[in-house]
């Protein structure tokens, strides 16, 4: 049974929720008896199916941040490009930002559609060794809004993991929306037996962003998701004319560095503001090949080396247990 059966009312809490069959929305739903009996609440069989599917995927990395607009998608895109620059490395990039997918545009794949193959959905390929999946490929126009409540988003994420024909993959990079809600719980839950190497946390230097990022770190602790490290993005801007640095998003509480010291987390690096990053994203190109010698590109490369290093030492076990609801 799907999370939200097609005959369920709009406010269906999802058949695998604790509230299944018990909410006011369930009154009059044809599935109420089954749901209330708890029959569908048993561990979602998809978790096991996903574990099997993921045996061909070596490393899984989540890119997270409590705050929006800090550069999660930009980093996910560039991490994927950088990893795939080695022809022998197979990379998959999965976008689970269901309401605000940026990956198709950033990877230069806007307007692409997924194809159904014998073994499931085929992802869209940027290069032979770089596969991408996003809800953006399932929409008919860039104006299409995905006006979905949580359970439906969860169903989509399950499909992305279970039904996409990823093939042999060295790195699966997962770009996420901001927050600590349905998408985050679902991706962690569905990958719980398959195992996740860890999460990369993105923030910007100011407290308004850090205060949300601390919540995301709490979330990782709660669901026992290891943290690879923190990246401070948009960290200072060097004026192209006079070369002076301005702190546009000032680190009024010590920035990511202080937070990492307090929470005992590695700071992977700082990436400055560079208008050419936004431009590359808008044009669907890799900033790393557009302006390889810029300080921002070098910062990205050094961070990516640390992540590769982490993964080469990590031995993931499918041990994450999630019992939050």
């Amino acid at each position: 049974m799907a999370d939200v059966p097609s005959d369920a009312p709009e406010h269906c809490p999802g058949t695998s929720s604790d509230q299944a069959g018990k909410t006011s929305a369930c009154q009059g739903c044809p599935n109420q008896n089954t749901c209330a009996s708890g029959a569908v609440k048993a561990p979602d069989p998809a978790i096991e199916e996903i574990r099997l599917k993921m045996t061909s995927v070596k490393h899984k990395i989540l890119v997270l941040s409590g705050k929006g607009g800090v550069g999660k998608s930009t980093f996910s895109a560039h991490l994927s490009h950088a990893l795939a620059s080695d022809d022998s490395t197979e990379v998959a990039l999965l976008d689970v930002d269901i309401c605000g997918p940026s990956i198709p545009k950033m990877m230069g794949l806007e307007g692409e559609q997924v194809h159904q193959s014998g073994s499931g959905w085929s992802p869209v390929y940027v290069e032979d060794n770089l596969a991408v999946m996003s809800i953006g490929f399932l929409l008919s126009s860039p104006d299409d809004a995905v006006i979905w409540r949580g359970p439906k988003k969860n169903g989509m994420i399950k499909q992305f993991l279970r039904d996409v024909d990823w093939g042999e993959v060295d790195y699966l990079i997962v770009d996420t929306p901001p927050g600590t809600s349905d998408e985050h719980l679902s991706i962690v839950q569905y990958l719980s037996s398959a195992g996740i190497d860890g999460a990369v946390i993105i923030t910007t230097p100011q407290e308004v962003s850090l205060q949300d990022v601390r919540k995301e770190i709490r979330f990782c602790e709660k669901v026992k998701l290891p943290i690879i490290g923190v990246i401070e993005n948009m960290s200072g801007f060097v004026c192209p004319k006079c070369k002076n640095t301005s702190q546009i998003f000032p680190p009024t509480t010590g920035g990511a560095q202080r937070m990492c010291e307090e929470l005992n987390l590695p700071l992977l690096g700082r990436v400055p503001l560079d208008p050419r990053i936004g431009k590359s994203c808008d044009e669907g190109k890799s900033f790393l090949t557009e302006v390889p010698d810029s300080p921002a590109a070098m910062a990205y490369q050094s961070i990516i080396r640390k992540i590769k290093d982490y993964c080469s030492h990590s031995s993931i076990k499918g041990s994450v247990t999630v019992d939050l609801e």
Partner: protein, 267 residues
């Protein structure tokens, strides 16, 4: 009195949502500055913060974490000023530990939003601004569903200039159309940065995307707000930017937007 009669929004003249498909574009910033601008022009203002996973309003107005009290008519909002002209409600006020993550799935979020809409004793307000999280999901649907019983004047859409952001805002426009929410106008935020050392203007997040989007979709363009480190700093410290920097071009930009919006609402 039954709950519907307690109608906490009965004495609220105008309700405006601040929306954007994209995160970090300045929804909370614009909400805060609009509220301060309206208050400076003598209006009584409320802010309802429905960003449950990332509430920014308490910090941006430096109200800390006061106790939320209960009265006969419901929850008493928190006031940002001694004159009680700026009333706030946010999940930030209800949490013991500010770093605690609200790890809630949709239905639980919807339930709290329902309470926020029906159980806060706003009293008399000229304008209630609703600050939202990014996206088009539970929070948005729930707040609209609950506000429907009253009246929603419409939505202000905030975007930054680059295509990655306007793309998300295009989806938000579709959301507004599908849910019958009037678009009161589009604000382009973080548009251009003037170097404080040499006055060179850098378009860090590109330029003009918001205005273009307004044209493309036949929406009102309310104006653009530059990237201004003094604005970030003011919000970090919960200082009233409009009071502190009345000479800046950012001040002019924000007050013009506020004036246009207010006169459109009150006409």
């Amino acid at each position: 009195m039954d709950t519907s009669e307690r109608g906490s929004l009965d004495q609220v003249k105008h309700v405006v949502l601040v929306l954007s498909g994209k995160g970090g574009v300045g929804k909370s910033t614009i909400t805060t500055e609009l509220a301060l601008a309206f208050r400076h022009s003598g209006r009584k203002v409320g802010i309802l913060d429905v960003d449950l996973c990332g509430p920014s309003i308490p910090r941006m107005l430096r109200v800390g974490k006061p106790e939320v009290h209960q009265c006969d008519a419901g929850w008493v909002p928190v006031y940002a000023d001694p004159q009680q002209q700026l009333a706030l409600m946010s999940i930030g006020f209800l949490m013991e530990d500010p770093d605690e993550a609200v790890v809630w799935r949709g239905p639980k979020k919807s339930a709290l939003i329902g309470q926020f809409v029906s159980d806060v004793a706003w009293g008399e307000l000229d304008v209630l601004l609703v600050d939202t999280p990014p996206g088009t999901s539970d929070e948005h649907l729930s707040v609209l569903e609950n506000l429907r019983k009253h009246k929603v004047d419409g939505a202000v859409l905030v975007t930054t200039p680059q295509a990655v952001s306007t793309g998300d805002v295009r989806r938000e426009i579709t959301f507004c159309k599908k849910t019958d929410v009037k678009i009161l106008g589009i604000v382009e935020n973080m548009s251009g940065f003037v170097c404080p050392h040499c006055s060179e203007c850098s378009n860090i997040f590109s330029k003009g995307g918001g205005e273009e989007l307004a044209k493309l979709t036949g929406s009102v363009f309310l104006g653009s707000v530059p990237l201004d480190p003094l604005l970030t700093a003011s919000l970090e410290e919960g200082r009233d930017f409009l009071q502190a920097f009345p000479e800046s071009s950012t001040y002019t930009a924000i007050s013009d937007i506020a004036k246009t919006l207010l006169s459109n609402l009150e006409s």
